[in-house]
Symmetry: C2
Subunit: 222 residues, 2 copies
């Protein structure tokens, strides 16, 4: 059986889970705490980082970007990186935008403060960091709104890895109840669509022990 | 004509230059300071980051990982990501290792302190950061030595994107004269091979204004 080592607090692992579900690939889940470097994961991945995918034939793949490229090569349908080389580049660069820029600007400030530090050590969040994260979040919501109004989805007229990367990251902020959806109707319209997909169901069932999600987190009519 | 916006201090841009040269793709260079967000680059890339590639047909590609995947799709020979999906995943995950882990552990401490801060603002390096960078560097040199002794190249029996990512990053540390080559003969043997390739010549001519390279930097017999 295919196996994924992951944790609900990792946006990169959420993206991989969405990709697996979009491709209708069944997998067992092994959940570990990201800050406890488990022996089993270190044996598989010298970087000690999740997600780690062990495919049905035993092929072990890690690094979230590498896992998504691997899935695209081995299970090409439905395609998540599609079209001409320029269109494929657009999907990859926007996935990287959320994997890195959104991670650095929003996740590090909002989600690390509100969820990770609390789950790790019961630390209270730093209100200055929260403000920085909320300010950056606004620019990303505007950008998603502009892109999806013009194109339909983040990187073009069809759903791609870029949508999964964006939604995986935003879902963590939404868990905290920190997305001002009412002020960004275009971004909200896109998130309603992606949140309603069957691939999203497992994410909406995620619960971080001791920190319940915001009431709207699993609500499809938010 | 194909055009690359870059700067010699960016390891990610060095990797892209090596990939272009390995594929024998000619390109003009436009060098900009990474910390001055130039209007021309912001017009091309909303993230304002280099490298940016403008291909011969006008296709504009950014994000260094995306540029390398694009080159691989449009100019597949010689291949830099090759073999079975598992072998291709190994090349990608090791390229990501150097792009992210080496960057965070070594470049941020050694190269940012010794080259970037000095070039930006003539700041003296922080000796504690230098020590952290040098300590991490040792584990990476050992890892490169183990991999290349077993396999020939970093990700397998042929040169791949993983070698280019590793060499691009290490070349910046070597510019500072901070690689203890004599203690890591296996890593040195690999670096001698890659440094002697025609693709490396343009990197060896790089000079950061006001900060000359260490004497061994451009020496093929170091």
């Amino acid at each position: 059986m295919r196996l994924l080592y992951h944790h609900p607090l990792l946006a990169s692992a959420r993206k991989v889970r969405l990709a697996l579900h979009e491709k209708r690939l069944f997998f067992e889940e092994k959940i570990s705490l990201p800050w406890e470097r488990e022996e089993a994961i270190l044996r598989l991945n010298p970087a000690g980082e999740m997600p780690v995918l062990v495919d049905e034939d035993g092929t072990t793949v890690f690094d979230p970007v590498t896992i998504c490229e691997y899935l695209e090569e081995v299970y090409p349908e439905p395609a998540l990186i599609r079209g001409t080389p320029a269109e494929r580049a657009e999907a990859r660069r926007l996935a990287a935008w959320f994997d890195h820029k959104f991670q650095r600007e929003v996740i590090q400030h909002l989600v690390v403060e509100k969820l990770v530090k609390r789950a790790m050590a019961n630390h209270a969040p730093d209100s200055r960091a929260l403000k920085v994260g909320r300010d950056f979040l606004v620019t990303h919501l505007q950008y998603i709104g502009e892109l999806t109004e013009q194109r339909g989805w983040v990187a073009g007229s069809a759903l791609t890895l870029a949508d999964l990367a964006a939604a995986a990251n935003i879902s963590l902020v939404d868990y905290c109840g920190d997305v001002p959806w009412e002020s960004y109707p275009a971004a909200k319209e896109w998130y309603v669509r992606i949140k309603s997909r069957p691939s999203f169901r497992s994410l909406l069932r995620d619960v971080v022990p001791g920190i319940p999600p915001a009431p709207i987190y699993a609500d499809l009519d938010f």
